[in-house]
Symmetry: C2
Subunit: 142 residues, 2 copies
DNA sequence: TTTGCAATTGAGTCTAAGTTTCAACTACAA
DNA sequence: TTGTAGTTGAAACTTAGACTCAATTGCAAA
């Protein structure tokens, strides 16, 4: 199943519709291969000669998160960022000075999560592991 | 050095002042022994018969974070929460349904952080490890 | 003690992300 | 064809937090 099928069957299942606007947002969200914000989608959709309202973009992003195709990631800023859930799970090093985001993977984390969730009988659906500080270059300028 | 001394010497060091308002915010922030938000401080300060403006509270919180006495934690909501940095480092299980926050500690995480930071020559100043999902009770109601 | 200056404060204004509202529109099933 | 429920966009709204600025205050040097 590709993204489109996943999303449309997710929608159908709960009596929602797979509309042209929702398809547009889906396509655009997956044409970006890094973290993005709602505003990015708005701009790119417009640049490609289409038009989807802000409200619909936010509504669709919420659906894409619900159906598990996207995940919300939180950097220092006051607005949300999104990323694809496909591909290996990764975490982030966030530079406070230049804003650079370095991704890393670590399989120990998965085991920690399992252990902790078992202990507290917690049902995980996603996680966030972010180390905040200064990248190699910026650390020199402190 | 207690909190007051840490804060006031942090301020003096950079030519800032340890004012009554800043002291008020410090005291109030440390009289709460769990996560809190800016609004909580505003209310509590007023309840104790004092008065510190919203602007000053936000400004002082930023200073307390800078000097390392407080840390910003991010739960699902659109506004910030804060916690004391003193005491053992811990992480959070966040329930999406009832909003409950369960704290846990895990020493493996510290080692993961060290390993990752060394590899990327990253200078860490804080971290976030949050597992988002459903607590034992809420998992039943899904 | 006085003086001058830079830091600080509070009230109010502003910003921007995201949400809500609602009337018009649309897909689909009966 | 019609009824119903989902969807859309425009605009208004919400809210945390940042900014502005005139008035105030703390402190260091005279």
């Amino acid at each position: 199943m590709n993204k489109k099928e996943i999303f449309s069957s997710f929608l159908k299942l709960r009596g929602f519709r797979f509309t042209p606007q929702r398809e547009r947002v889906l396509e655009e969200a997956f044409s970006i291969h890094k973290h993005f914000e709602a505003e990015d989608l708005l701009v790119r959709i417009r640049q490609n000669g289409h038009r989807v309202s802000k409200a619909t973009i936010y509504r669709t992003l919420a659906l894409l998160i619900q159906c598990g195709l996207l995940r919300e990631v939180i950097f220092g800023e006051r607005h949300s960022h999104y990323e694809h859930t496909l591909g290996p799970k990764h975490h982030h090093l966030i530079c406070l000075r230049c804003g650079k985001i370095i991704e890393f993977t670590d399989e120990t984390i998965e085991r920690v999560q399992q252990r902790v969730c078992e202990k507290h009988r917690f049902e995980p659906s996603q996680r966030r592991f972010e180390i905040i500080g200064y990248c190699e270059n910026c650390a020199k300028h402190l």
